[in-house]
Each structure stands twice: as C-alpha cells, then as structure tokens.
C-alpha cells in the first residue's frame, strides 16, 4: 500500500505569487475537495439556504443543502427562522424528505423522536418503558439531544446560515461594496417566488464561480447575449471585487450599436433577429445604467439580474467533479401581471434550457473533461494583466484571480 501511494507524485505547490497560473489539480483532487467542504461550506463562511418568501407561514419548512449536508430551514410559530441539520439525534436518520412542507413538529419516521421547529427534542416513544420495564435511563435529558442548529442571518428576505458559530458577522462577511449591489436587488420589498430549476453540471463547483466571475467568455461564447447587446465587451461595464477577493460582481449596461461598429466584435451575428420580440421586452427597473449584474458570494451563491429576470443560483457540490445549480426565480410582490409575464419570458435566457446558460453548462462539462487527466498542468489567467483590482471594463480575468487569492490563503495551498 505504502509503495503504491508513494508512486503517485504529490501535486506541485502553487507558486507563491502566482495567480495568473491556476494548477488544474484543484479541480480534480478528491482530498482537496474534502478540505474545501470543511473550510468553505462547513467552516467560517455564510452559505445561502433560501428566500424568506419560500416559507412565509409559521410551520413552513424547506429542505436545502450546504455543501453535501442536508439542512432544514424552518419558520417557527413565532415567525423566527431556524436552520437545522437534517439528521435525527437518535440514529442519524434524515428527518425531512419533502422539498417543502408545513408541519407542527418534526418527527423522525424511524422511532418517532419528535422535535420543535427550533430543533429542541420534545418527546420520544417509550421513554418510561412499558409496565416498568425498559425505557430511557432516569438521567436521560431531552435538552441534551437537539438537532444540530446552525447560525442564521436574514437580510432583506435572503437567508444565509453557517455550521460554524465563530463565523464573522454577516455584514462584515458581505462587505460594504458587495452590500450595495446586494441591496440593489434585495431592497426590502417582499419577494414573490416564481419557481425553481435544478440542474446537474458535470464540473467541479469552482468552475461555476470561475464562469460567473469571467466576463471574457461571455463576450465570446454567448452569441445570443452578444448579438442582442445584453452583454458585450464594448458596452459600459465593470468588475468589482470585495476586500477579501472571495466575492465579486460583474456589471454591464445594454447597448446595441450600429452594425458596422459591431461587425468588429467576436460572436456578433447581425442577422439574428427575434421573430417575437416579446422575449426581450426589457424595462428599466433599478437605479443606474446597469442592466446586467451578476454577483458571486462564495462559496454558495450567484445572484442574477439579467434585464428583468432575477434569480438566486445556489451552488451545491456533489463530489469533486460534479455540482448542481438550484435556481430560484423571483420577482416582487408589487409586480403587476405584465411584469411577472416579462420575468417569466426572460427566464428563457437561463437554466438548463436557457438561451445563454445552456452554453455554460455544456462548456463546463468539457472543461472538467479536459483538466481531469492533466492535474500537473496550469490554466493561464493573464487577461487584463496579473491584477486583482476592480476594472472599468470586462476584458479581464481579475475576479477569478482575486477569488483564488482568497481560496489559496484559506486552504494554505
């Protein structure tokens, strides 16, 4: 065994000052993947677990995931939100198997151990035995056996949780620059959930973040976006990165200039016209020029505003080479029917059949195929120079470099 293990070379170190070269083994190394789960998903970071509007009434619950661990988000009788690990304290049974529901108590199907919606154990059958025989010992205390409780923070209807009670306060974690973008979409208005999409992507979870942090590809891969001016390298645009490097936002203002000007651009197809223009019947609804704002909050959330289609995308790792995207599309309670229809039509851009997102899911599978057999090679991230600072353009890979700066330090790679 020892000899066999010794015959596999250790992965090369990541050069100390090198963020323009990303070692490919970080996308395929199983031991590293386990460390990532512990550090990012079960460690001191905030993970997205749902929208308050998904469980509006006391007694409502939602099952969700942080990393690979199943979590129940509940709304207790007093309206308070709780996040509980979905695992009975008795034998480890997964308690909730419905994606959404409404209950008075959480009861394990196996031995009927029963919990309040805040995770407190309130009862179990045969605690006092039968006819004076059996039962739990006298010193067995219900309060010693709650469901594992996570720390929870809600901001303007968006709910985050952490397994690690030492996690920094949410607002510090988000940072002032990212808070401004977050509050642009989540401005305190009540949200209306429009529906979910679940998609499996055969690629390491970080590749999805790389993709959203990478405006370079969007100007090239997404012919649809470019041709309709929804995202273009020559549009007014910016990349902003938080102080730690882990979060970022891509911002772009829609513009469809003259054909002659656009003909210089990669992936522009002047003849692409919509037969039914209602698909892109876009109205301005937020302050400022930006029409596309894609925010990544590592490790688990992408916030999407593309024209009038709004969604949160939860990134759920499922092993080193696979992740899922759980999309929740939403609008606002004060939307009229016309606006809701507009959002639902523009949702055609996104998801596993999306005019735009289809390209990403497909290409990320090919990235994973290409890199898995080449762990000792490196990817080249020099677009926009070696920097990790904000830019007033999108011909850059700065946000990816910044993310790996944070990542590498967090894992001491």
């Amino acid at each position: 065994m020892t000899e066999l293990a010794a015959s596999i070379p250790a992965p090369p170190r990541w050069a100390a000052d090198e963020l323009t070269r990303i070692p490919l083994w970080i996308y395929s190394d199983d031991a590293l993947y386990r460390r990532e789960l512990d550090r990012f998903f079960y460690g001191p970071e905030w993970s997205f677990i749902g929208l308050s509007a998904e469980i509006p009434e006391p007694g409502d619950f939602k099952t969700t995931t942080i990393g690979e661990r199943s979590v129940i988000l509940t709304r207790d009788r007093d309206g308070e939100l709780y996040a509980l690990e979905n695992r009975c304290a008795h034998r480890g049974v997964q308690l909730c198997h419905e994606p959404f529901g409404h209950v008075a108590r959480l009861r394990c199907p196996y031995h009927h151990w029963t919990y309040k919606l805040d995770g407190t154990l309130v009862g179990l059958p045969f605690r006092n035995g039968v006819d004076g025989r059996g039962g739990m010992p006298d010193d067995f205390a219900l309060e010693d056996h709650p469901l594992q409780k996570l720390v929870v923070h809600e901001r303007n209807g968006v709910v985050f949780a952490s397994f690690d009670p030492t996690v920094e306060p949410f607002e510090l974690w988000l940072g002032s620059k990212m808070t401004a973008w977050f509050d642009r979409v989540f401005d305190g208005r009540r949200l209306r959930v429009l529906g979910d999409l679940h998609q499996r992507v055969n690629a390491n979870w970080k590749l999805m973040f790389d993709n959203i942090k990478d405006p370079y590809h969007a100007s090239v891969l997404h012919v649809f976006l470019v041709s309709f001016g929804l995202f273009r390298a020559d549009n007014p645009s910016a990349t902003e990165i938080d102080a730690t490097g882990r979060h970022s936002v891509l911002v772009c203002a829609r513009r469809r200039p003259a054909v002659a000007e656009a003909a210089e651009l990669e992936s522009y197809r002047p003849k692409l016209e919509l037969h039914d223009p209602r698909l892109l019947d876009v109205v301005r609804e937020f302050p400022g020029e930006a029409t596309l704002v894609m925010q990544t909050l590592s490790p688990s959330l992408v916030i999407q505003q593309q024209s009038n289609t709004l969604a949160v995308r939860q990134v759920v790792p499922k092993g080193v080479g696979v992740h899922e995207l759980h999309w929740t599309f939403f609008g606002y309670e004060d939307d009229d029917d016309e606006m809701t229809t507009r959002r639902l039509r523009q949702a055609n851009l996104m998801g596993p059949a999306g005019y735009v997102s289809l390209d990403d899911g497909e290409v990320l599978g090919l990235v994973q195929s290409g890199i898995t057999t080449a762990p000792n090679e490196r990817s080249v991230l020099e677009m926009g120079g070696p920097g990790t600072d904000d830019t007033d353009h999108v011909v850059t890979e700065a946000a990816i470099r910044a993310f790996y700066g944070y990542y590498r330090d967090a894992l001491d790679l």
């Binding site: 994606p99 998609q199 499996r200 949702a347 055609n348 005019y355 497909e362």
Partner: protein, 154 residues
C-alpha cells in the same frame, strides 16, 4: 364544434419525427400562431408556481428557439429519441384535450444512451381548416433534476 380526432395519432407521429430527425422547421408548423409551448417541472406545477424551463408564447417564439438551436447556442451534438405512450383524447368545447406519457432519450457522441426526461404531455389540439395543430403543448417532466441540458424540445 366537433373535431375529427382520427388525425391525432398522425400529429403525434409527425411531432416525434420532426424533433428526433432534426427537422425543427417542420416541428414549428405543427403549432398554431398563438400557441403555448412549455417545458415545466412537476415540482413547480405541484407548488402552483408559474416558472417554465422553456416557455414559448407564440409560434414565432418557437421559431426563435429553433434559430438559437441551429445557429447561436453552443452544445455537444446529440441524438434525441422520443417514446410517447397511448394518447388519451378527450373532446372539449373547441378543441381536443390530449394527455400522453412521454420519455426522451439522449445519445451523446461515444456515449451510451441515457434517459433525459420522462413525464406527461398536457395538450390542446385544434383544427385549422381541417389541419390538426397544437394550440397548447405543456411537457411536464417528473424528475426535478435536469442532467446537463435540455437542448431540443421535449
């Protein structure tokens, strides 16, 4: 108004062959101008949520989808194959309501065939000058998780 239902089988055969043979222009012709075509997850239907995975509110939107599939979208090439179960055809006031189970298989290059989706069609068929067309075709798929992508119509 009663519609002669004898052509319904033929409509479904044409539908399946148009997609599976890659003749998407023909697929578009099987719909009315004001058609509603949707691919919807059963979970969204169960929760009463309106989001569709693919939503076309007219035949022109179908044309736009076809243009994207044929010229702008990036995806790994694939063959798709429908299996459609027995049709349950019920006459309604001005249309035929048709329900049928479906499965769609997908074959990528150098890969085994896999099941992409299974579910039920919830359709409305009307007669336009004696030609049967879909006024509504809602494809409700059962398994919530889509593996990779839905490139072609279900």
């Amino acid at each position: 108004m009663t519609i002669d239902a004898s052509g319904v089988d033929r409509l479904y055969v044409d539908y399946v062959h148009a997609i599976d043979d890659g003749n998407l222009a023909r697929w578009v012709e099987l719909f009315t101008d004001d058609c509603s075509y949707r691919i919807i997850s059963r979970e969204n239907v169960r929760r009463g949520l309106p989001l569709a995975t693919m939503r076309c509110d007219s035949r022109d939107m179908l044309r736009d989808r076809v243009a994207a599939i044929e010229s702008s979208a990036f995806y790994v090439s694939r063959t798709v194959r429908h299996l459609v179960g027995l049709l349950d055809v019920q006459p309604a006031d001005d249309h035929l309501r048709v329900r049928a189970n479906f499965a769609m298989f997908e074959s990528l290059p150098r890969s085994a065939t896999t099941l992409l989706c299974a579910g039920v069609y919830d359709d409305e068929v009307v007669s336009e000058g004696g030609v049967l067309r879909f006024r509504q075709k809602h494809c409700i798929y059962d398994g919530d998780l889509v593996v990779d992508s839905i490139v072609y119509p279900l």
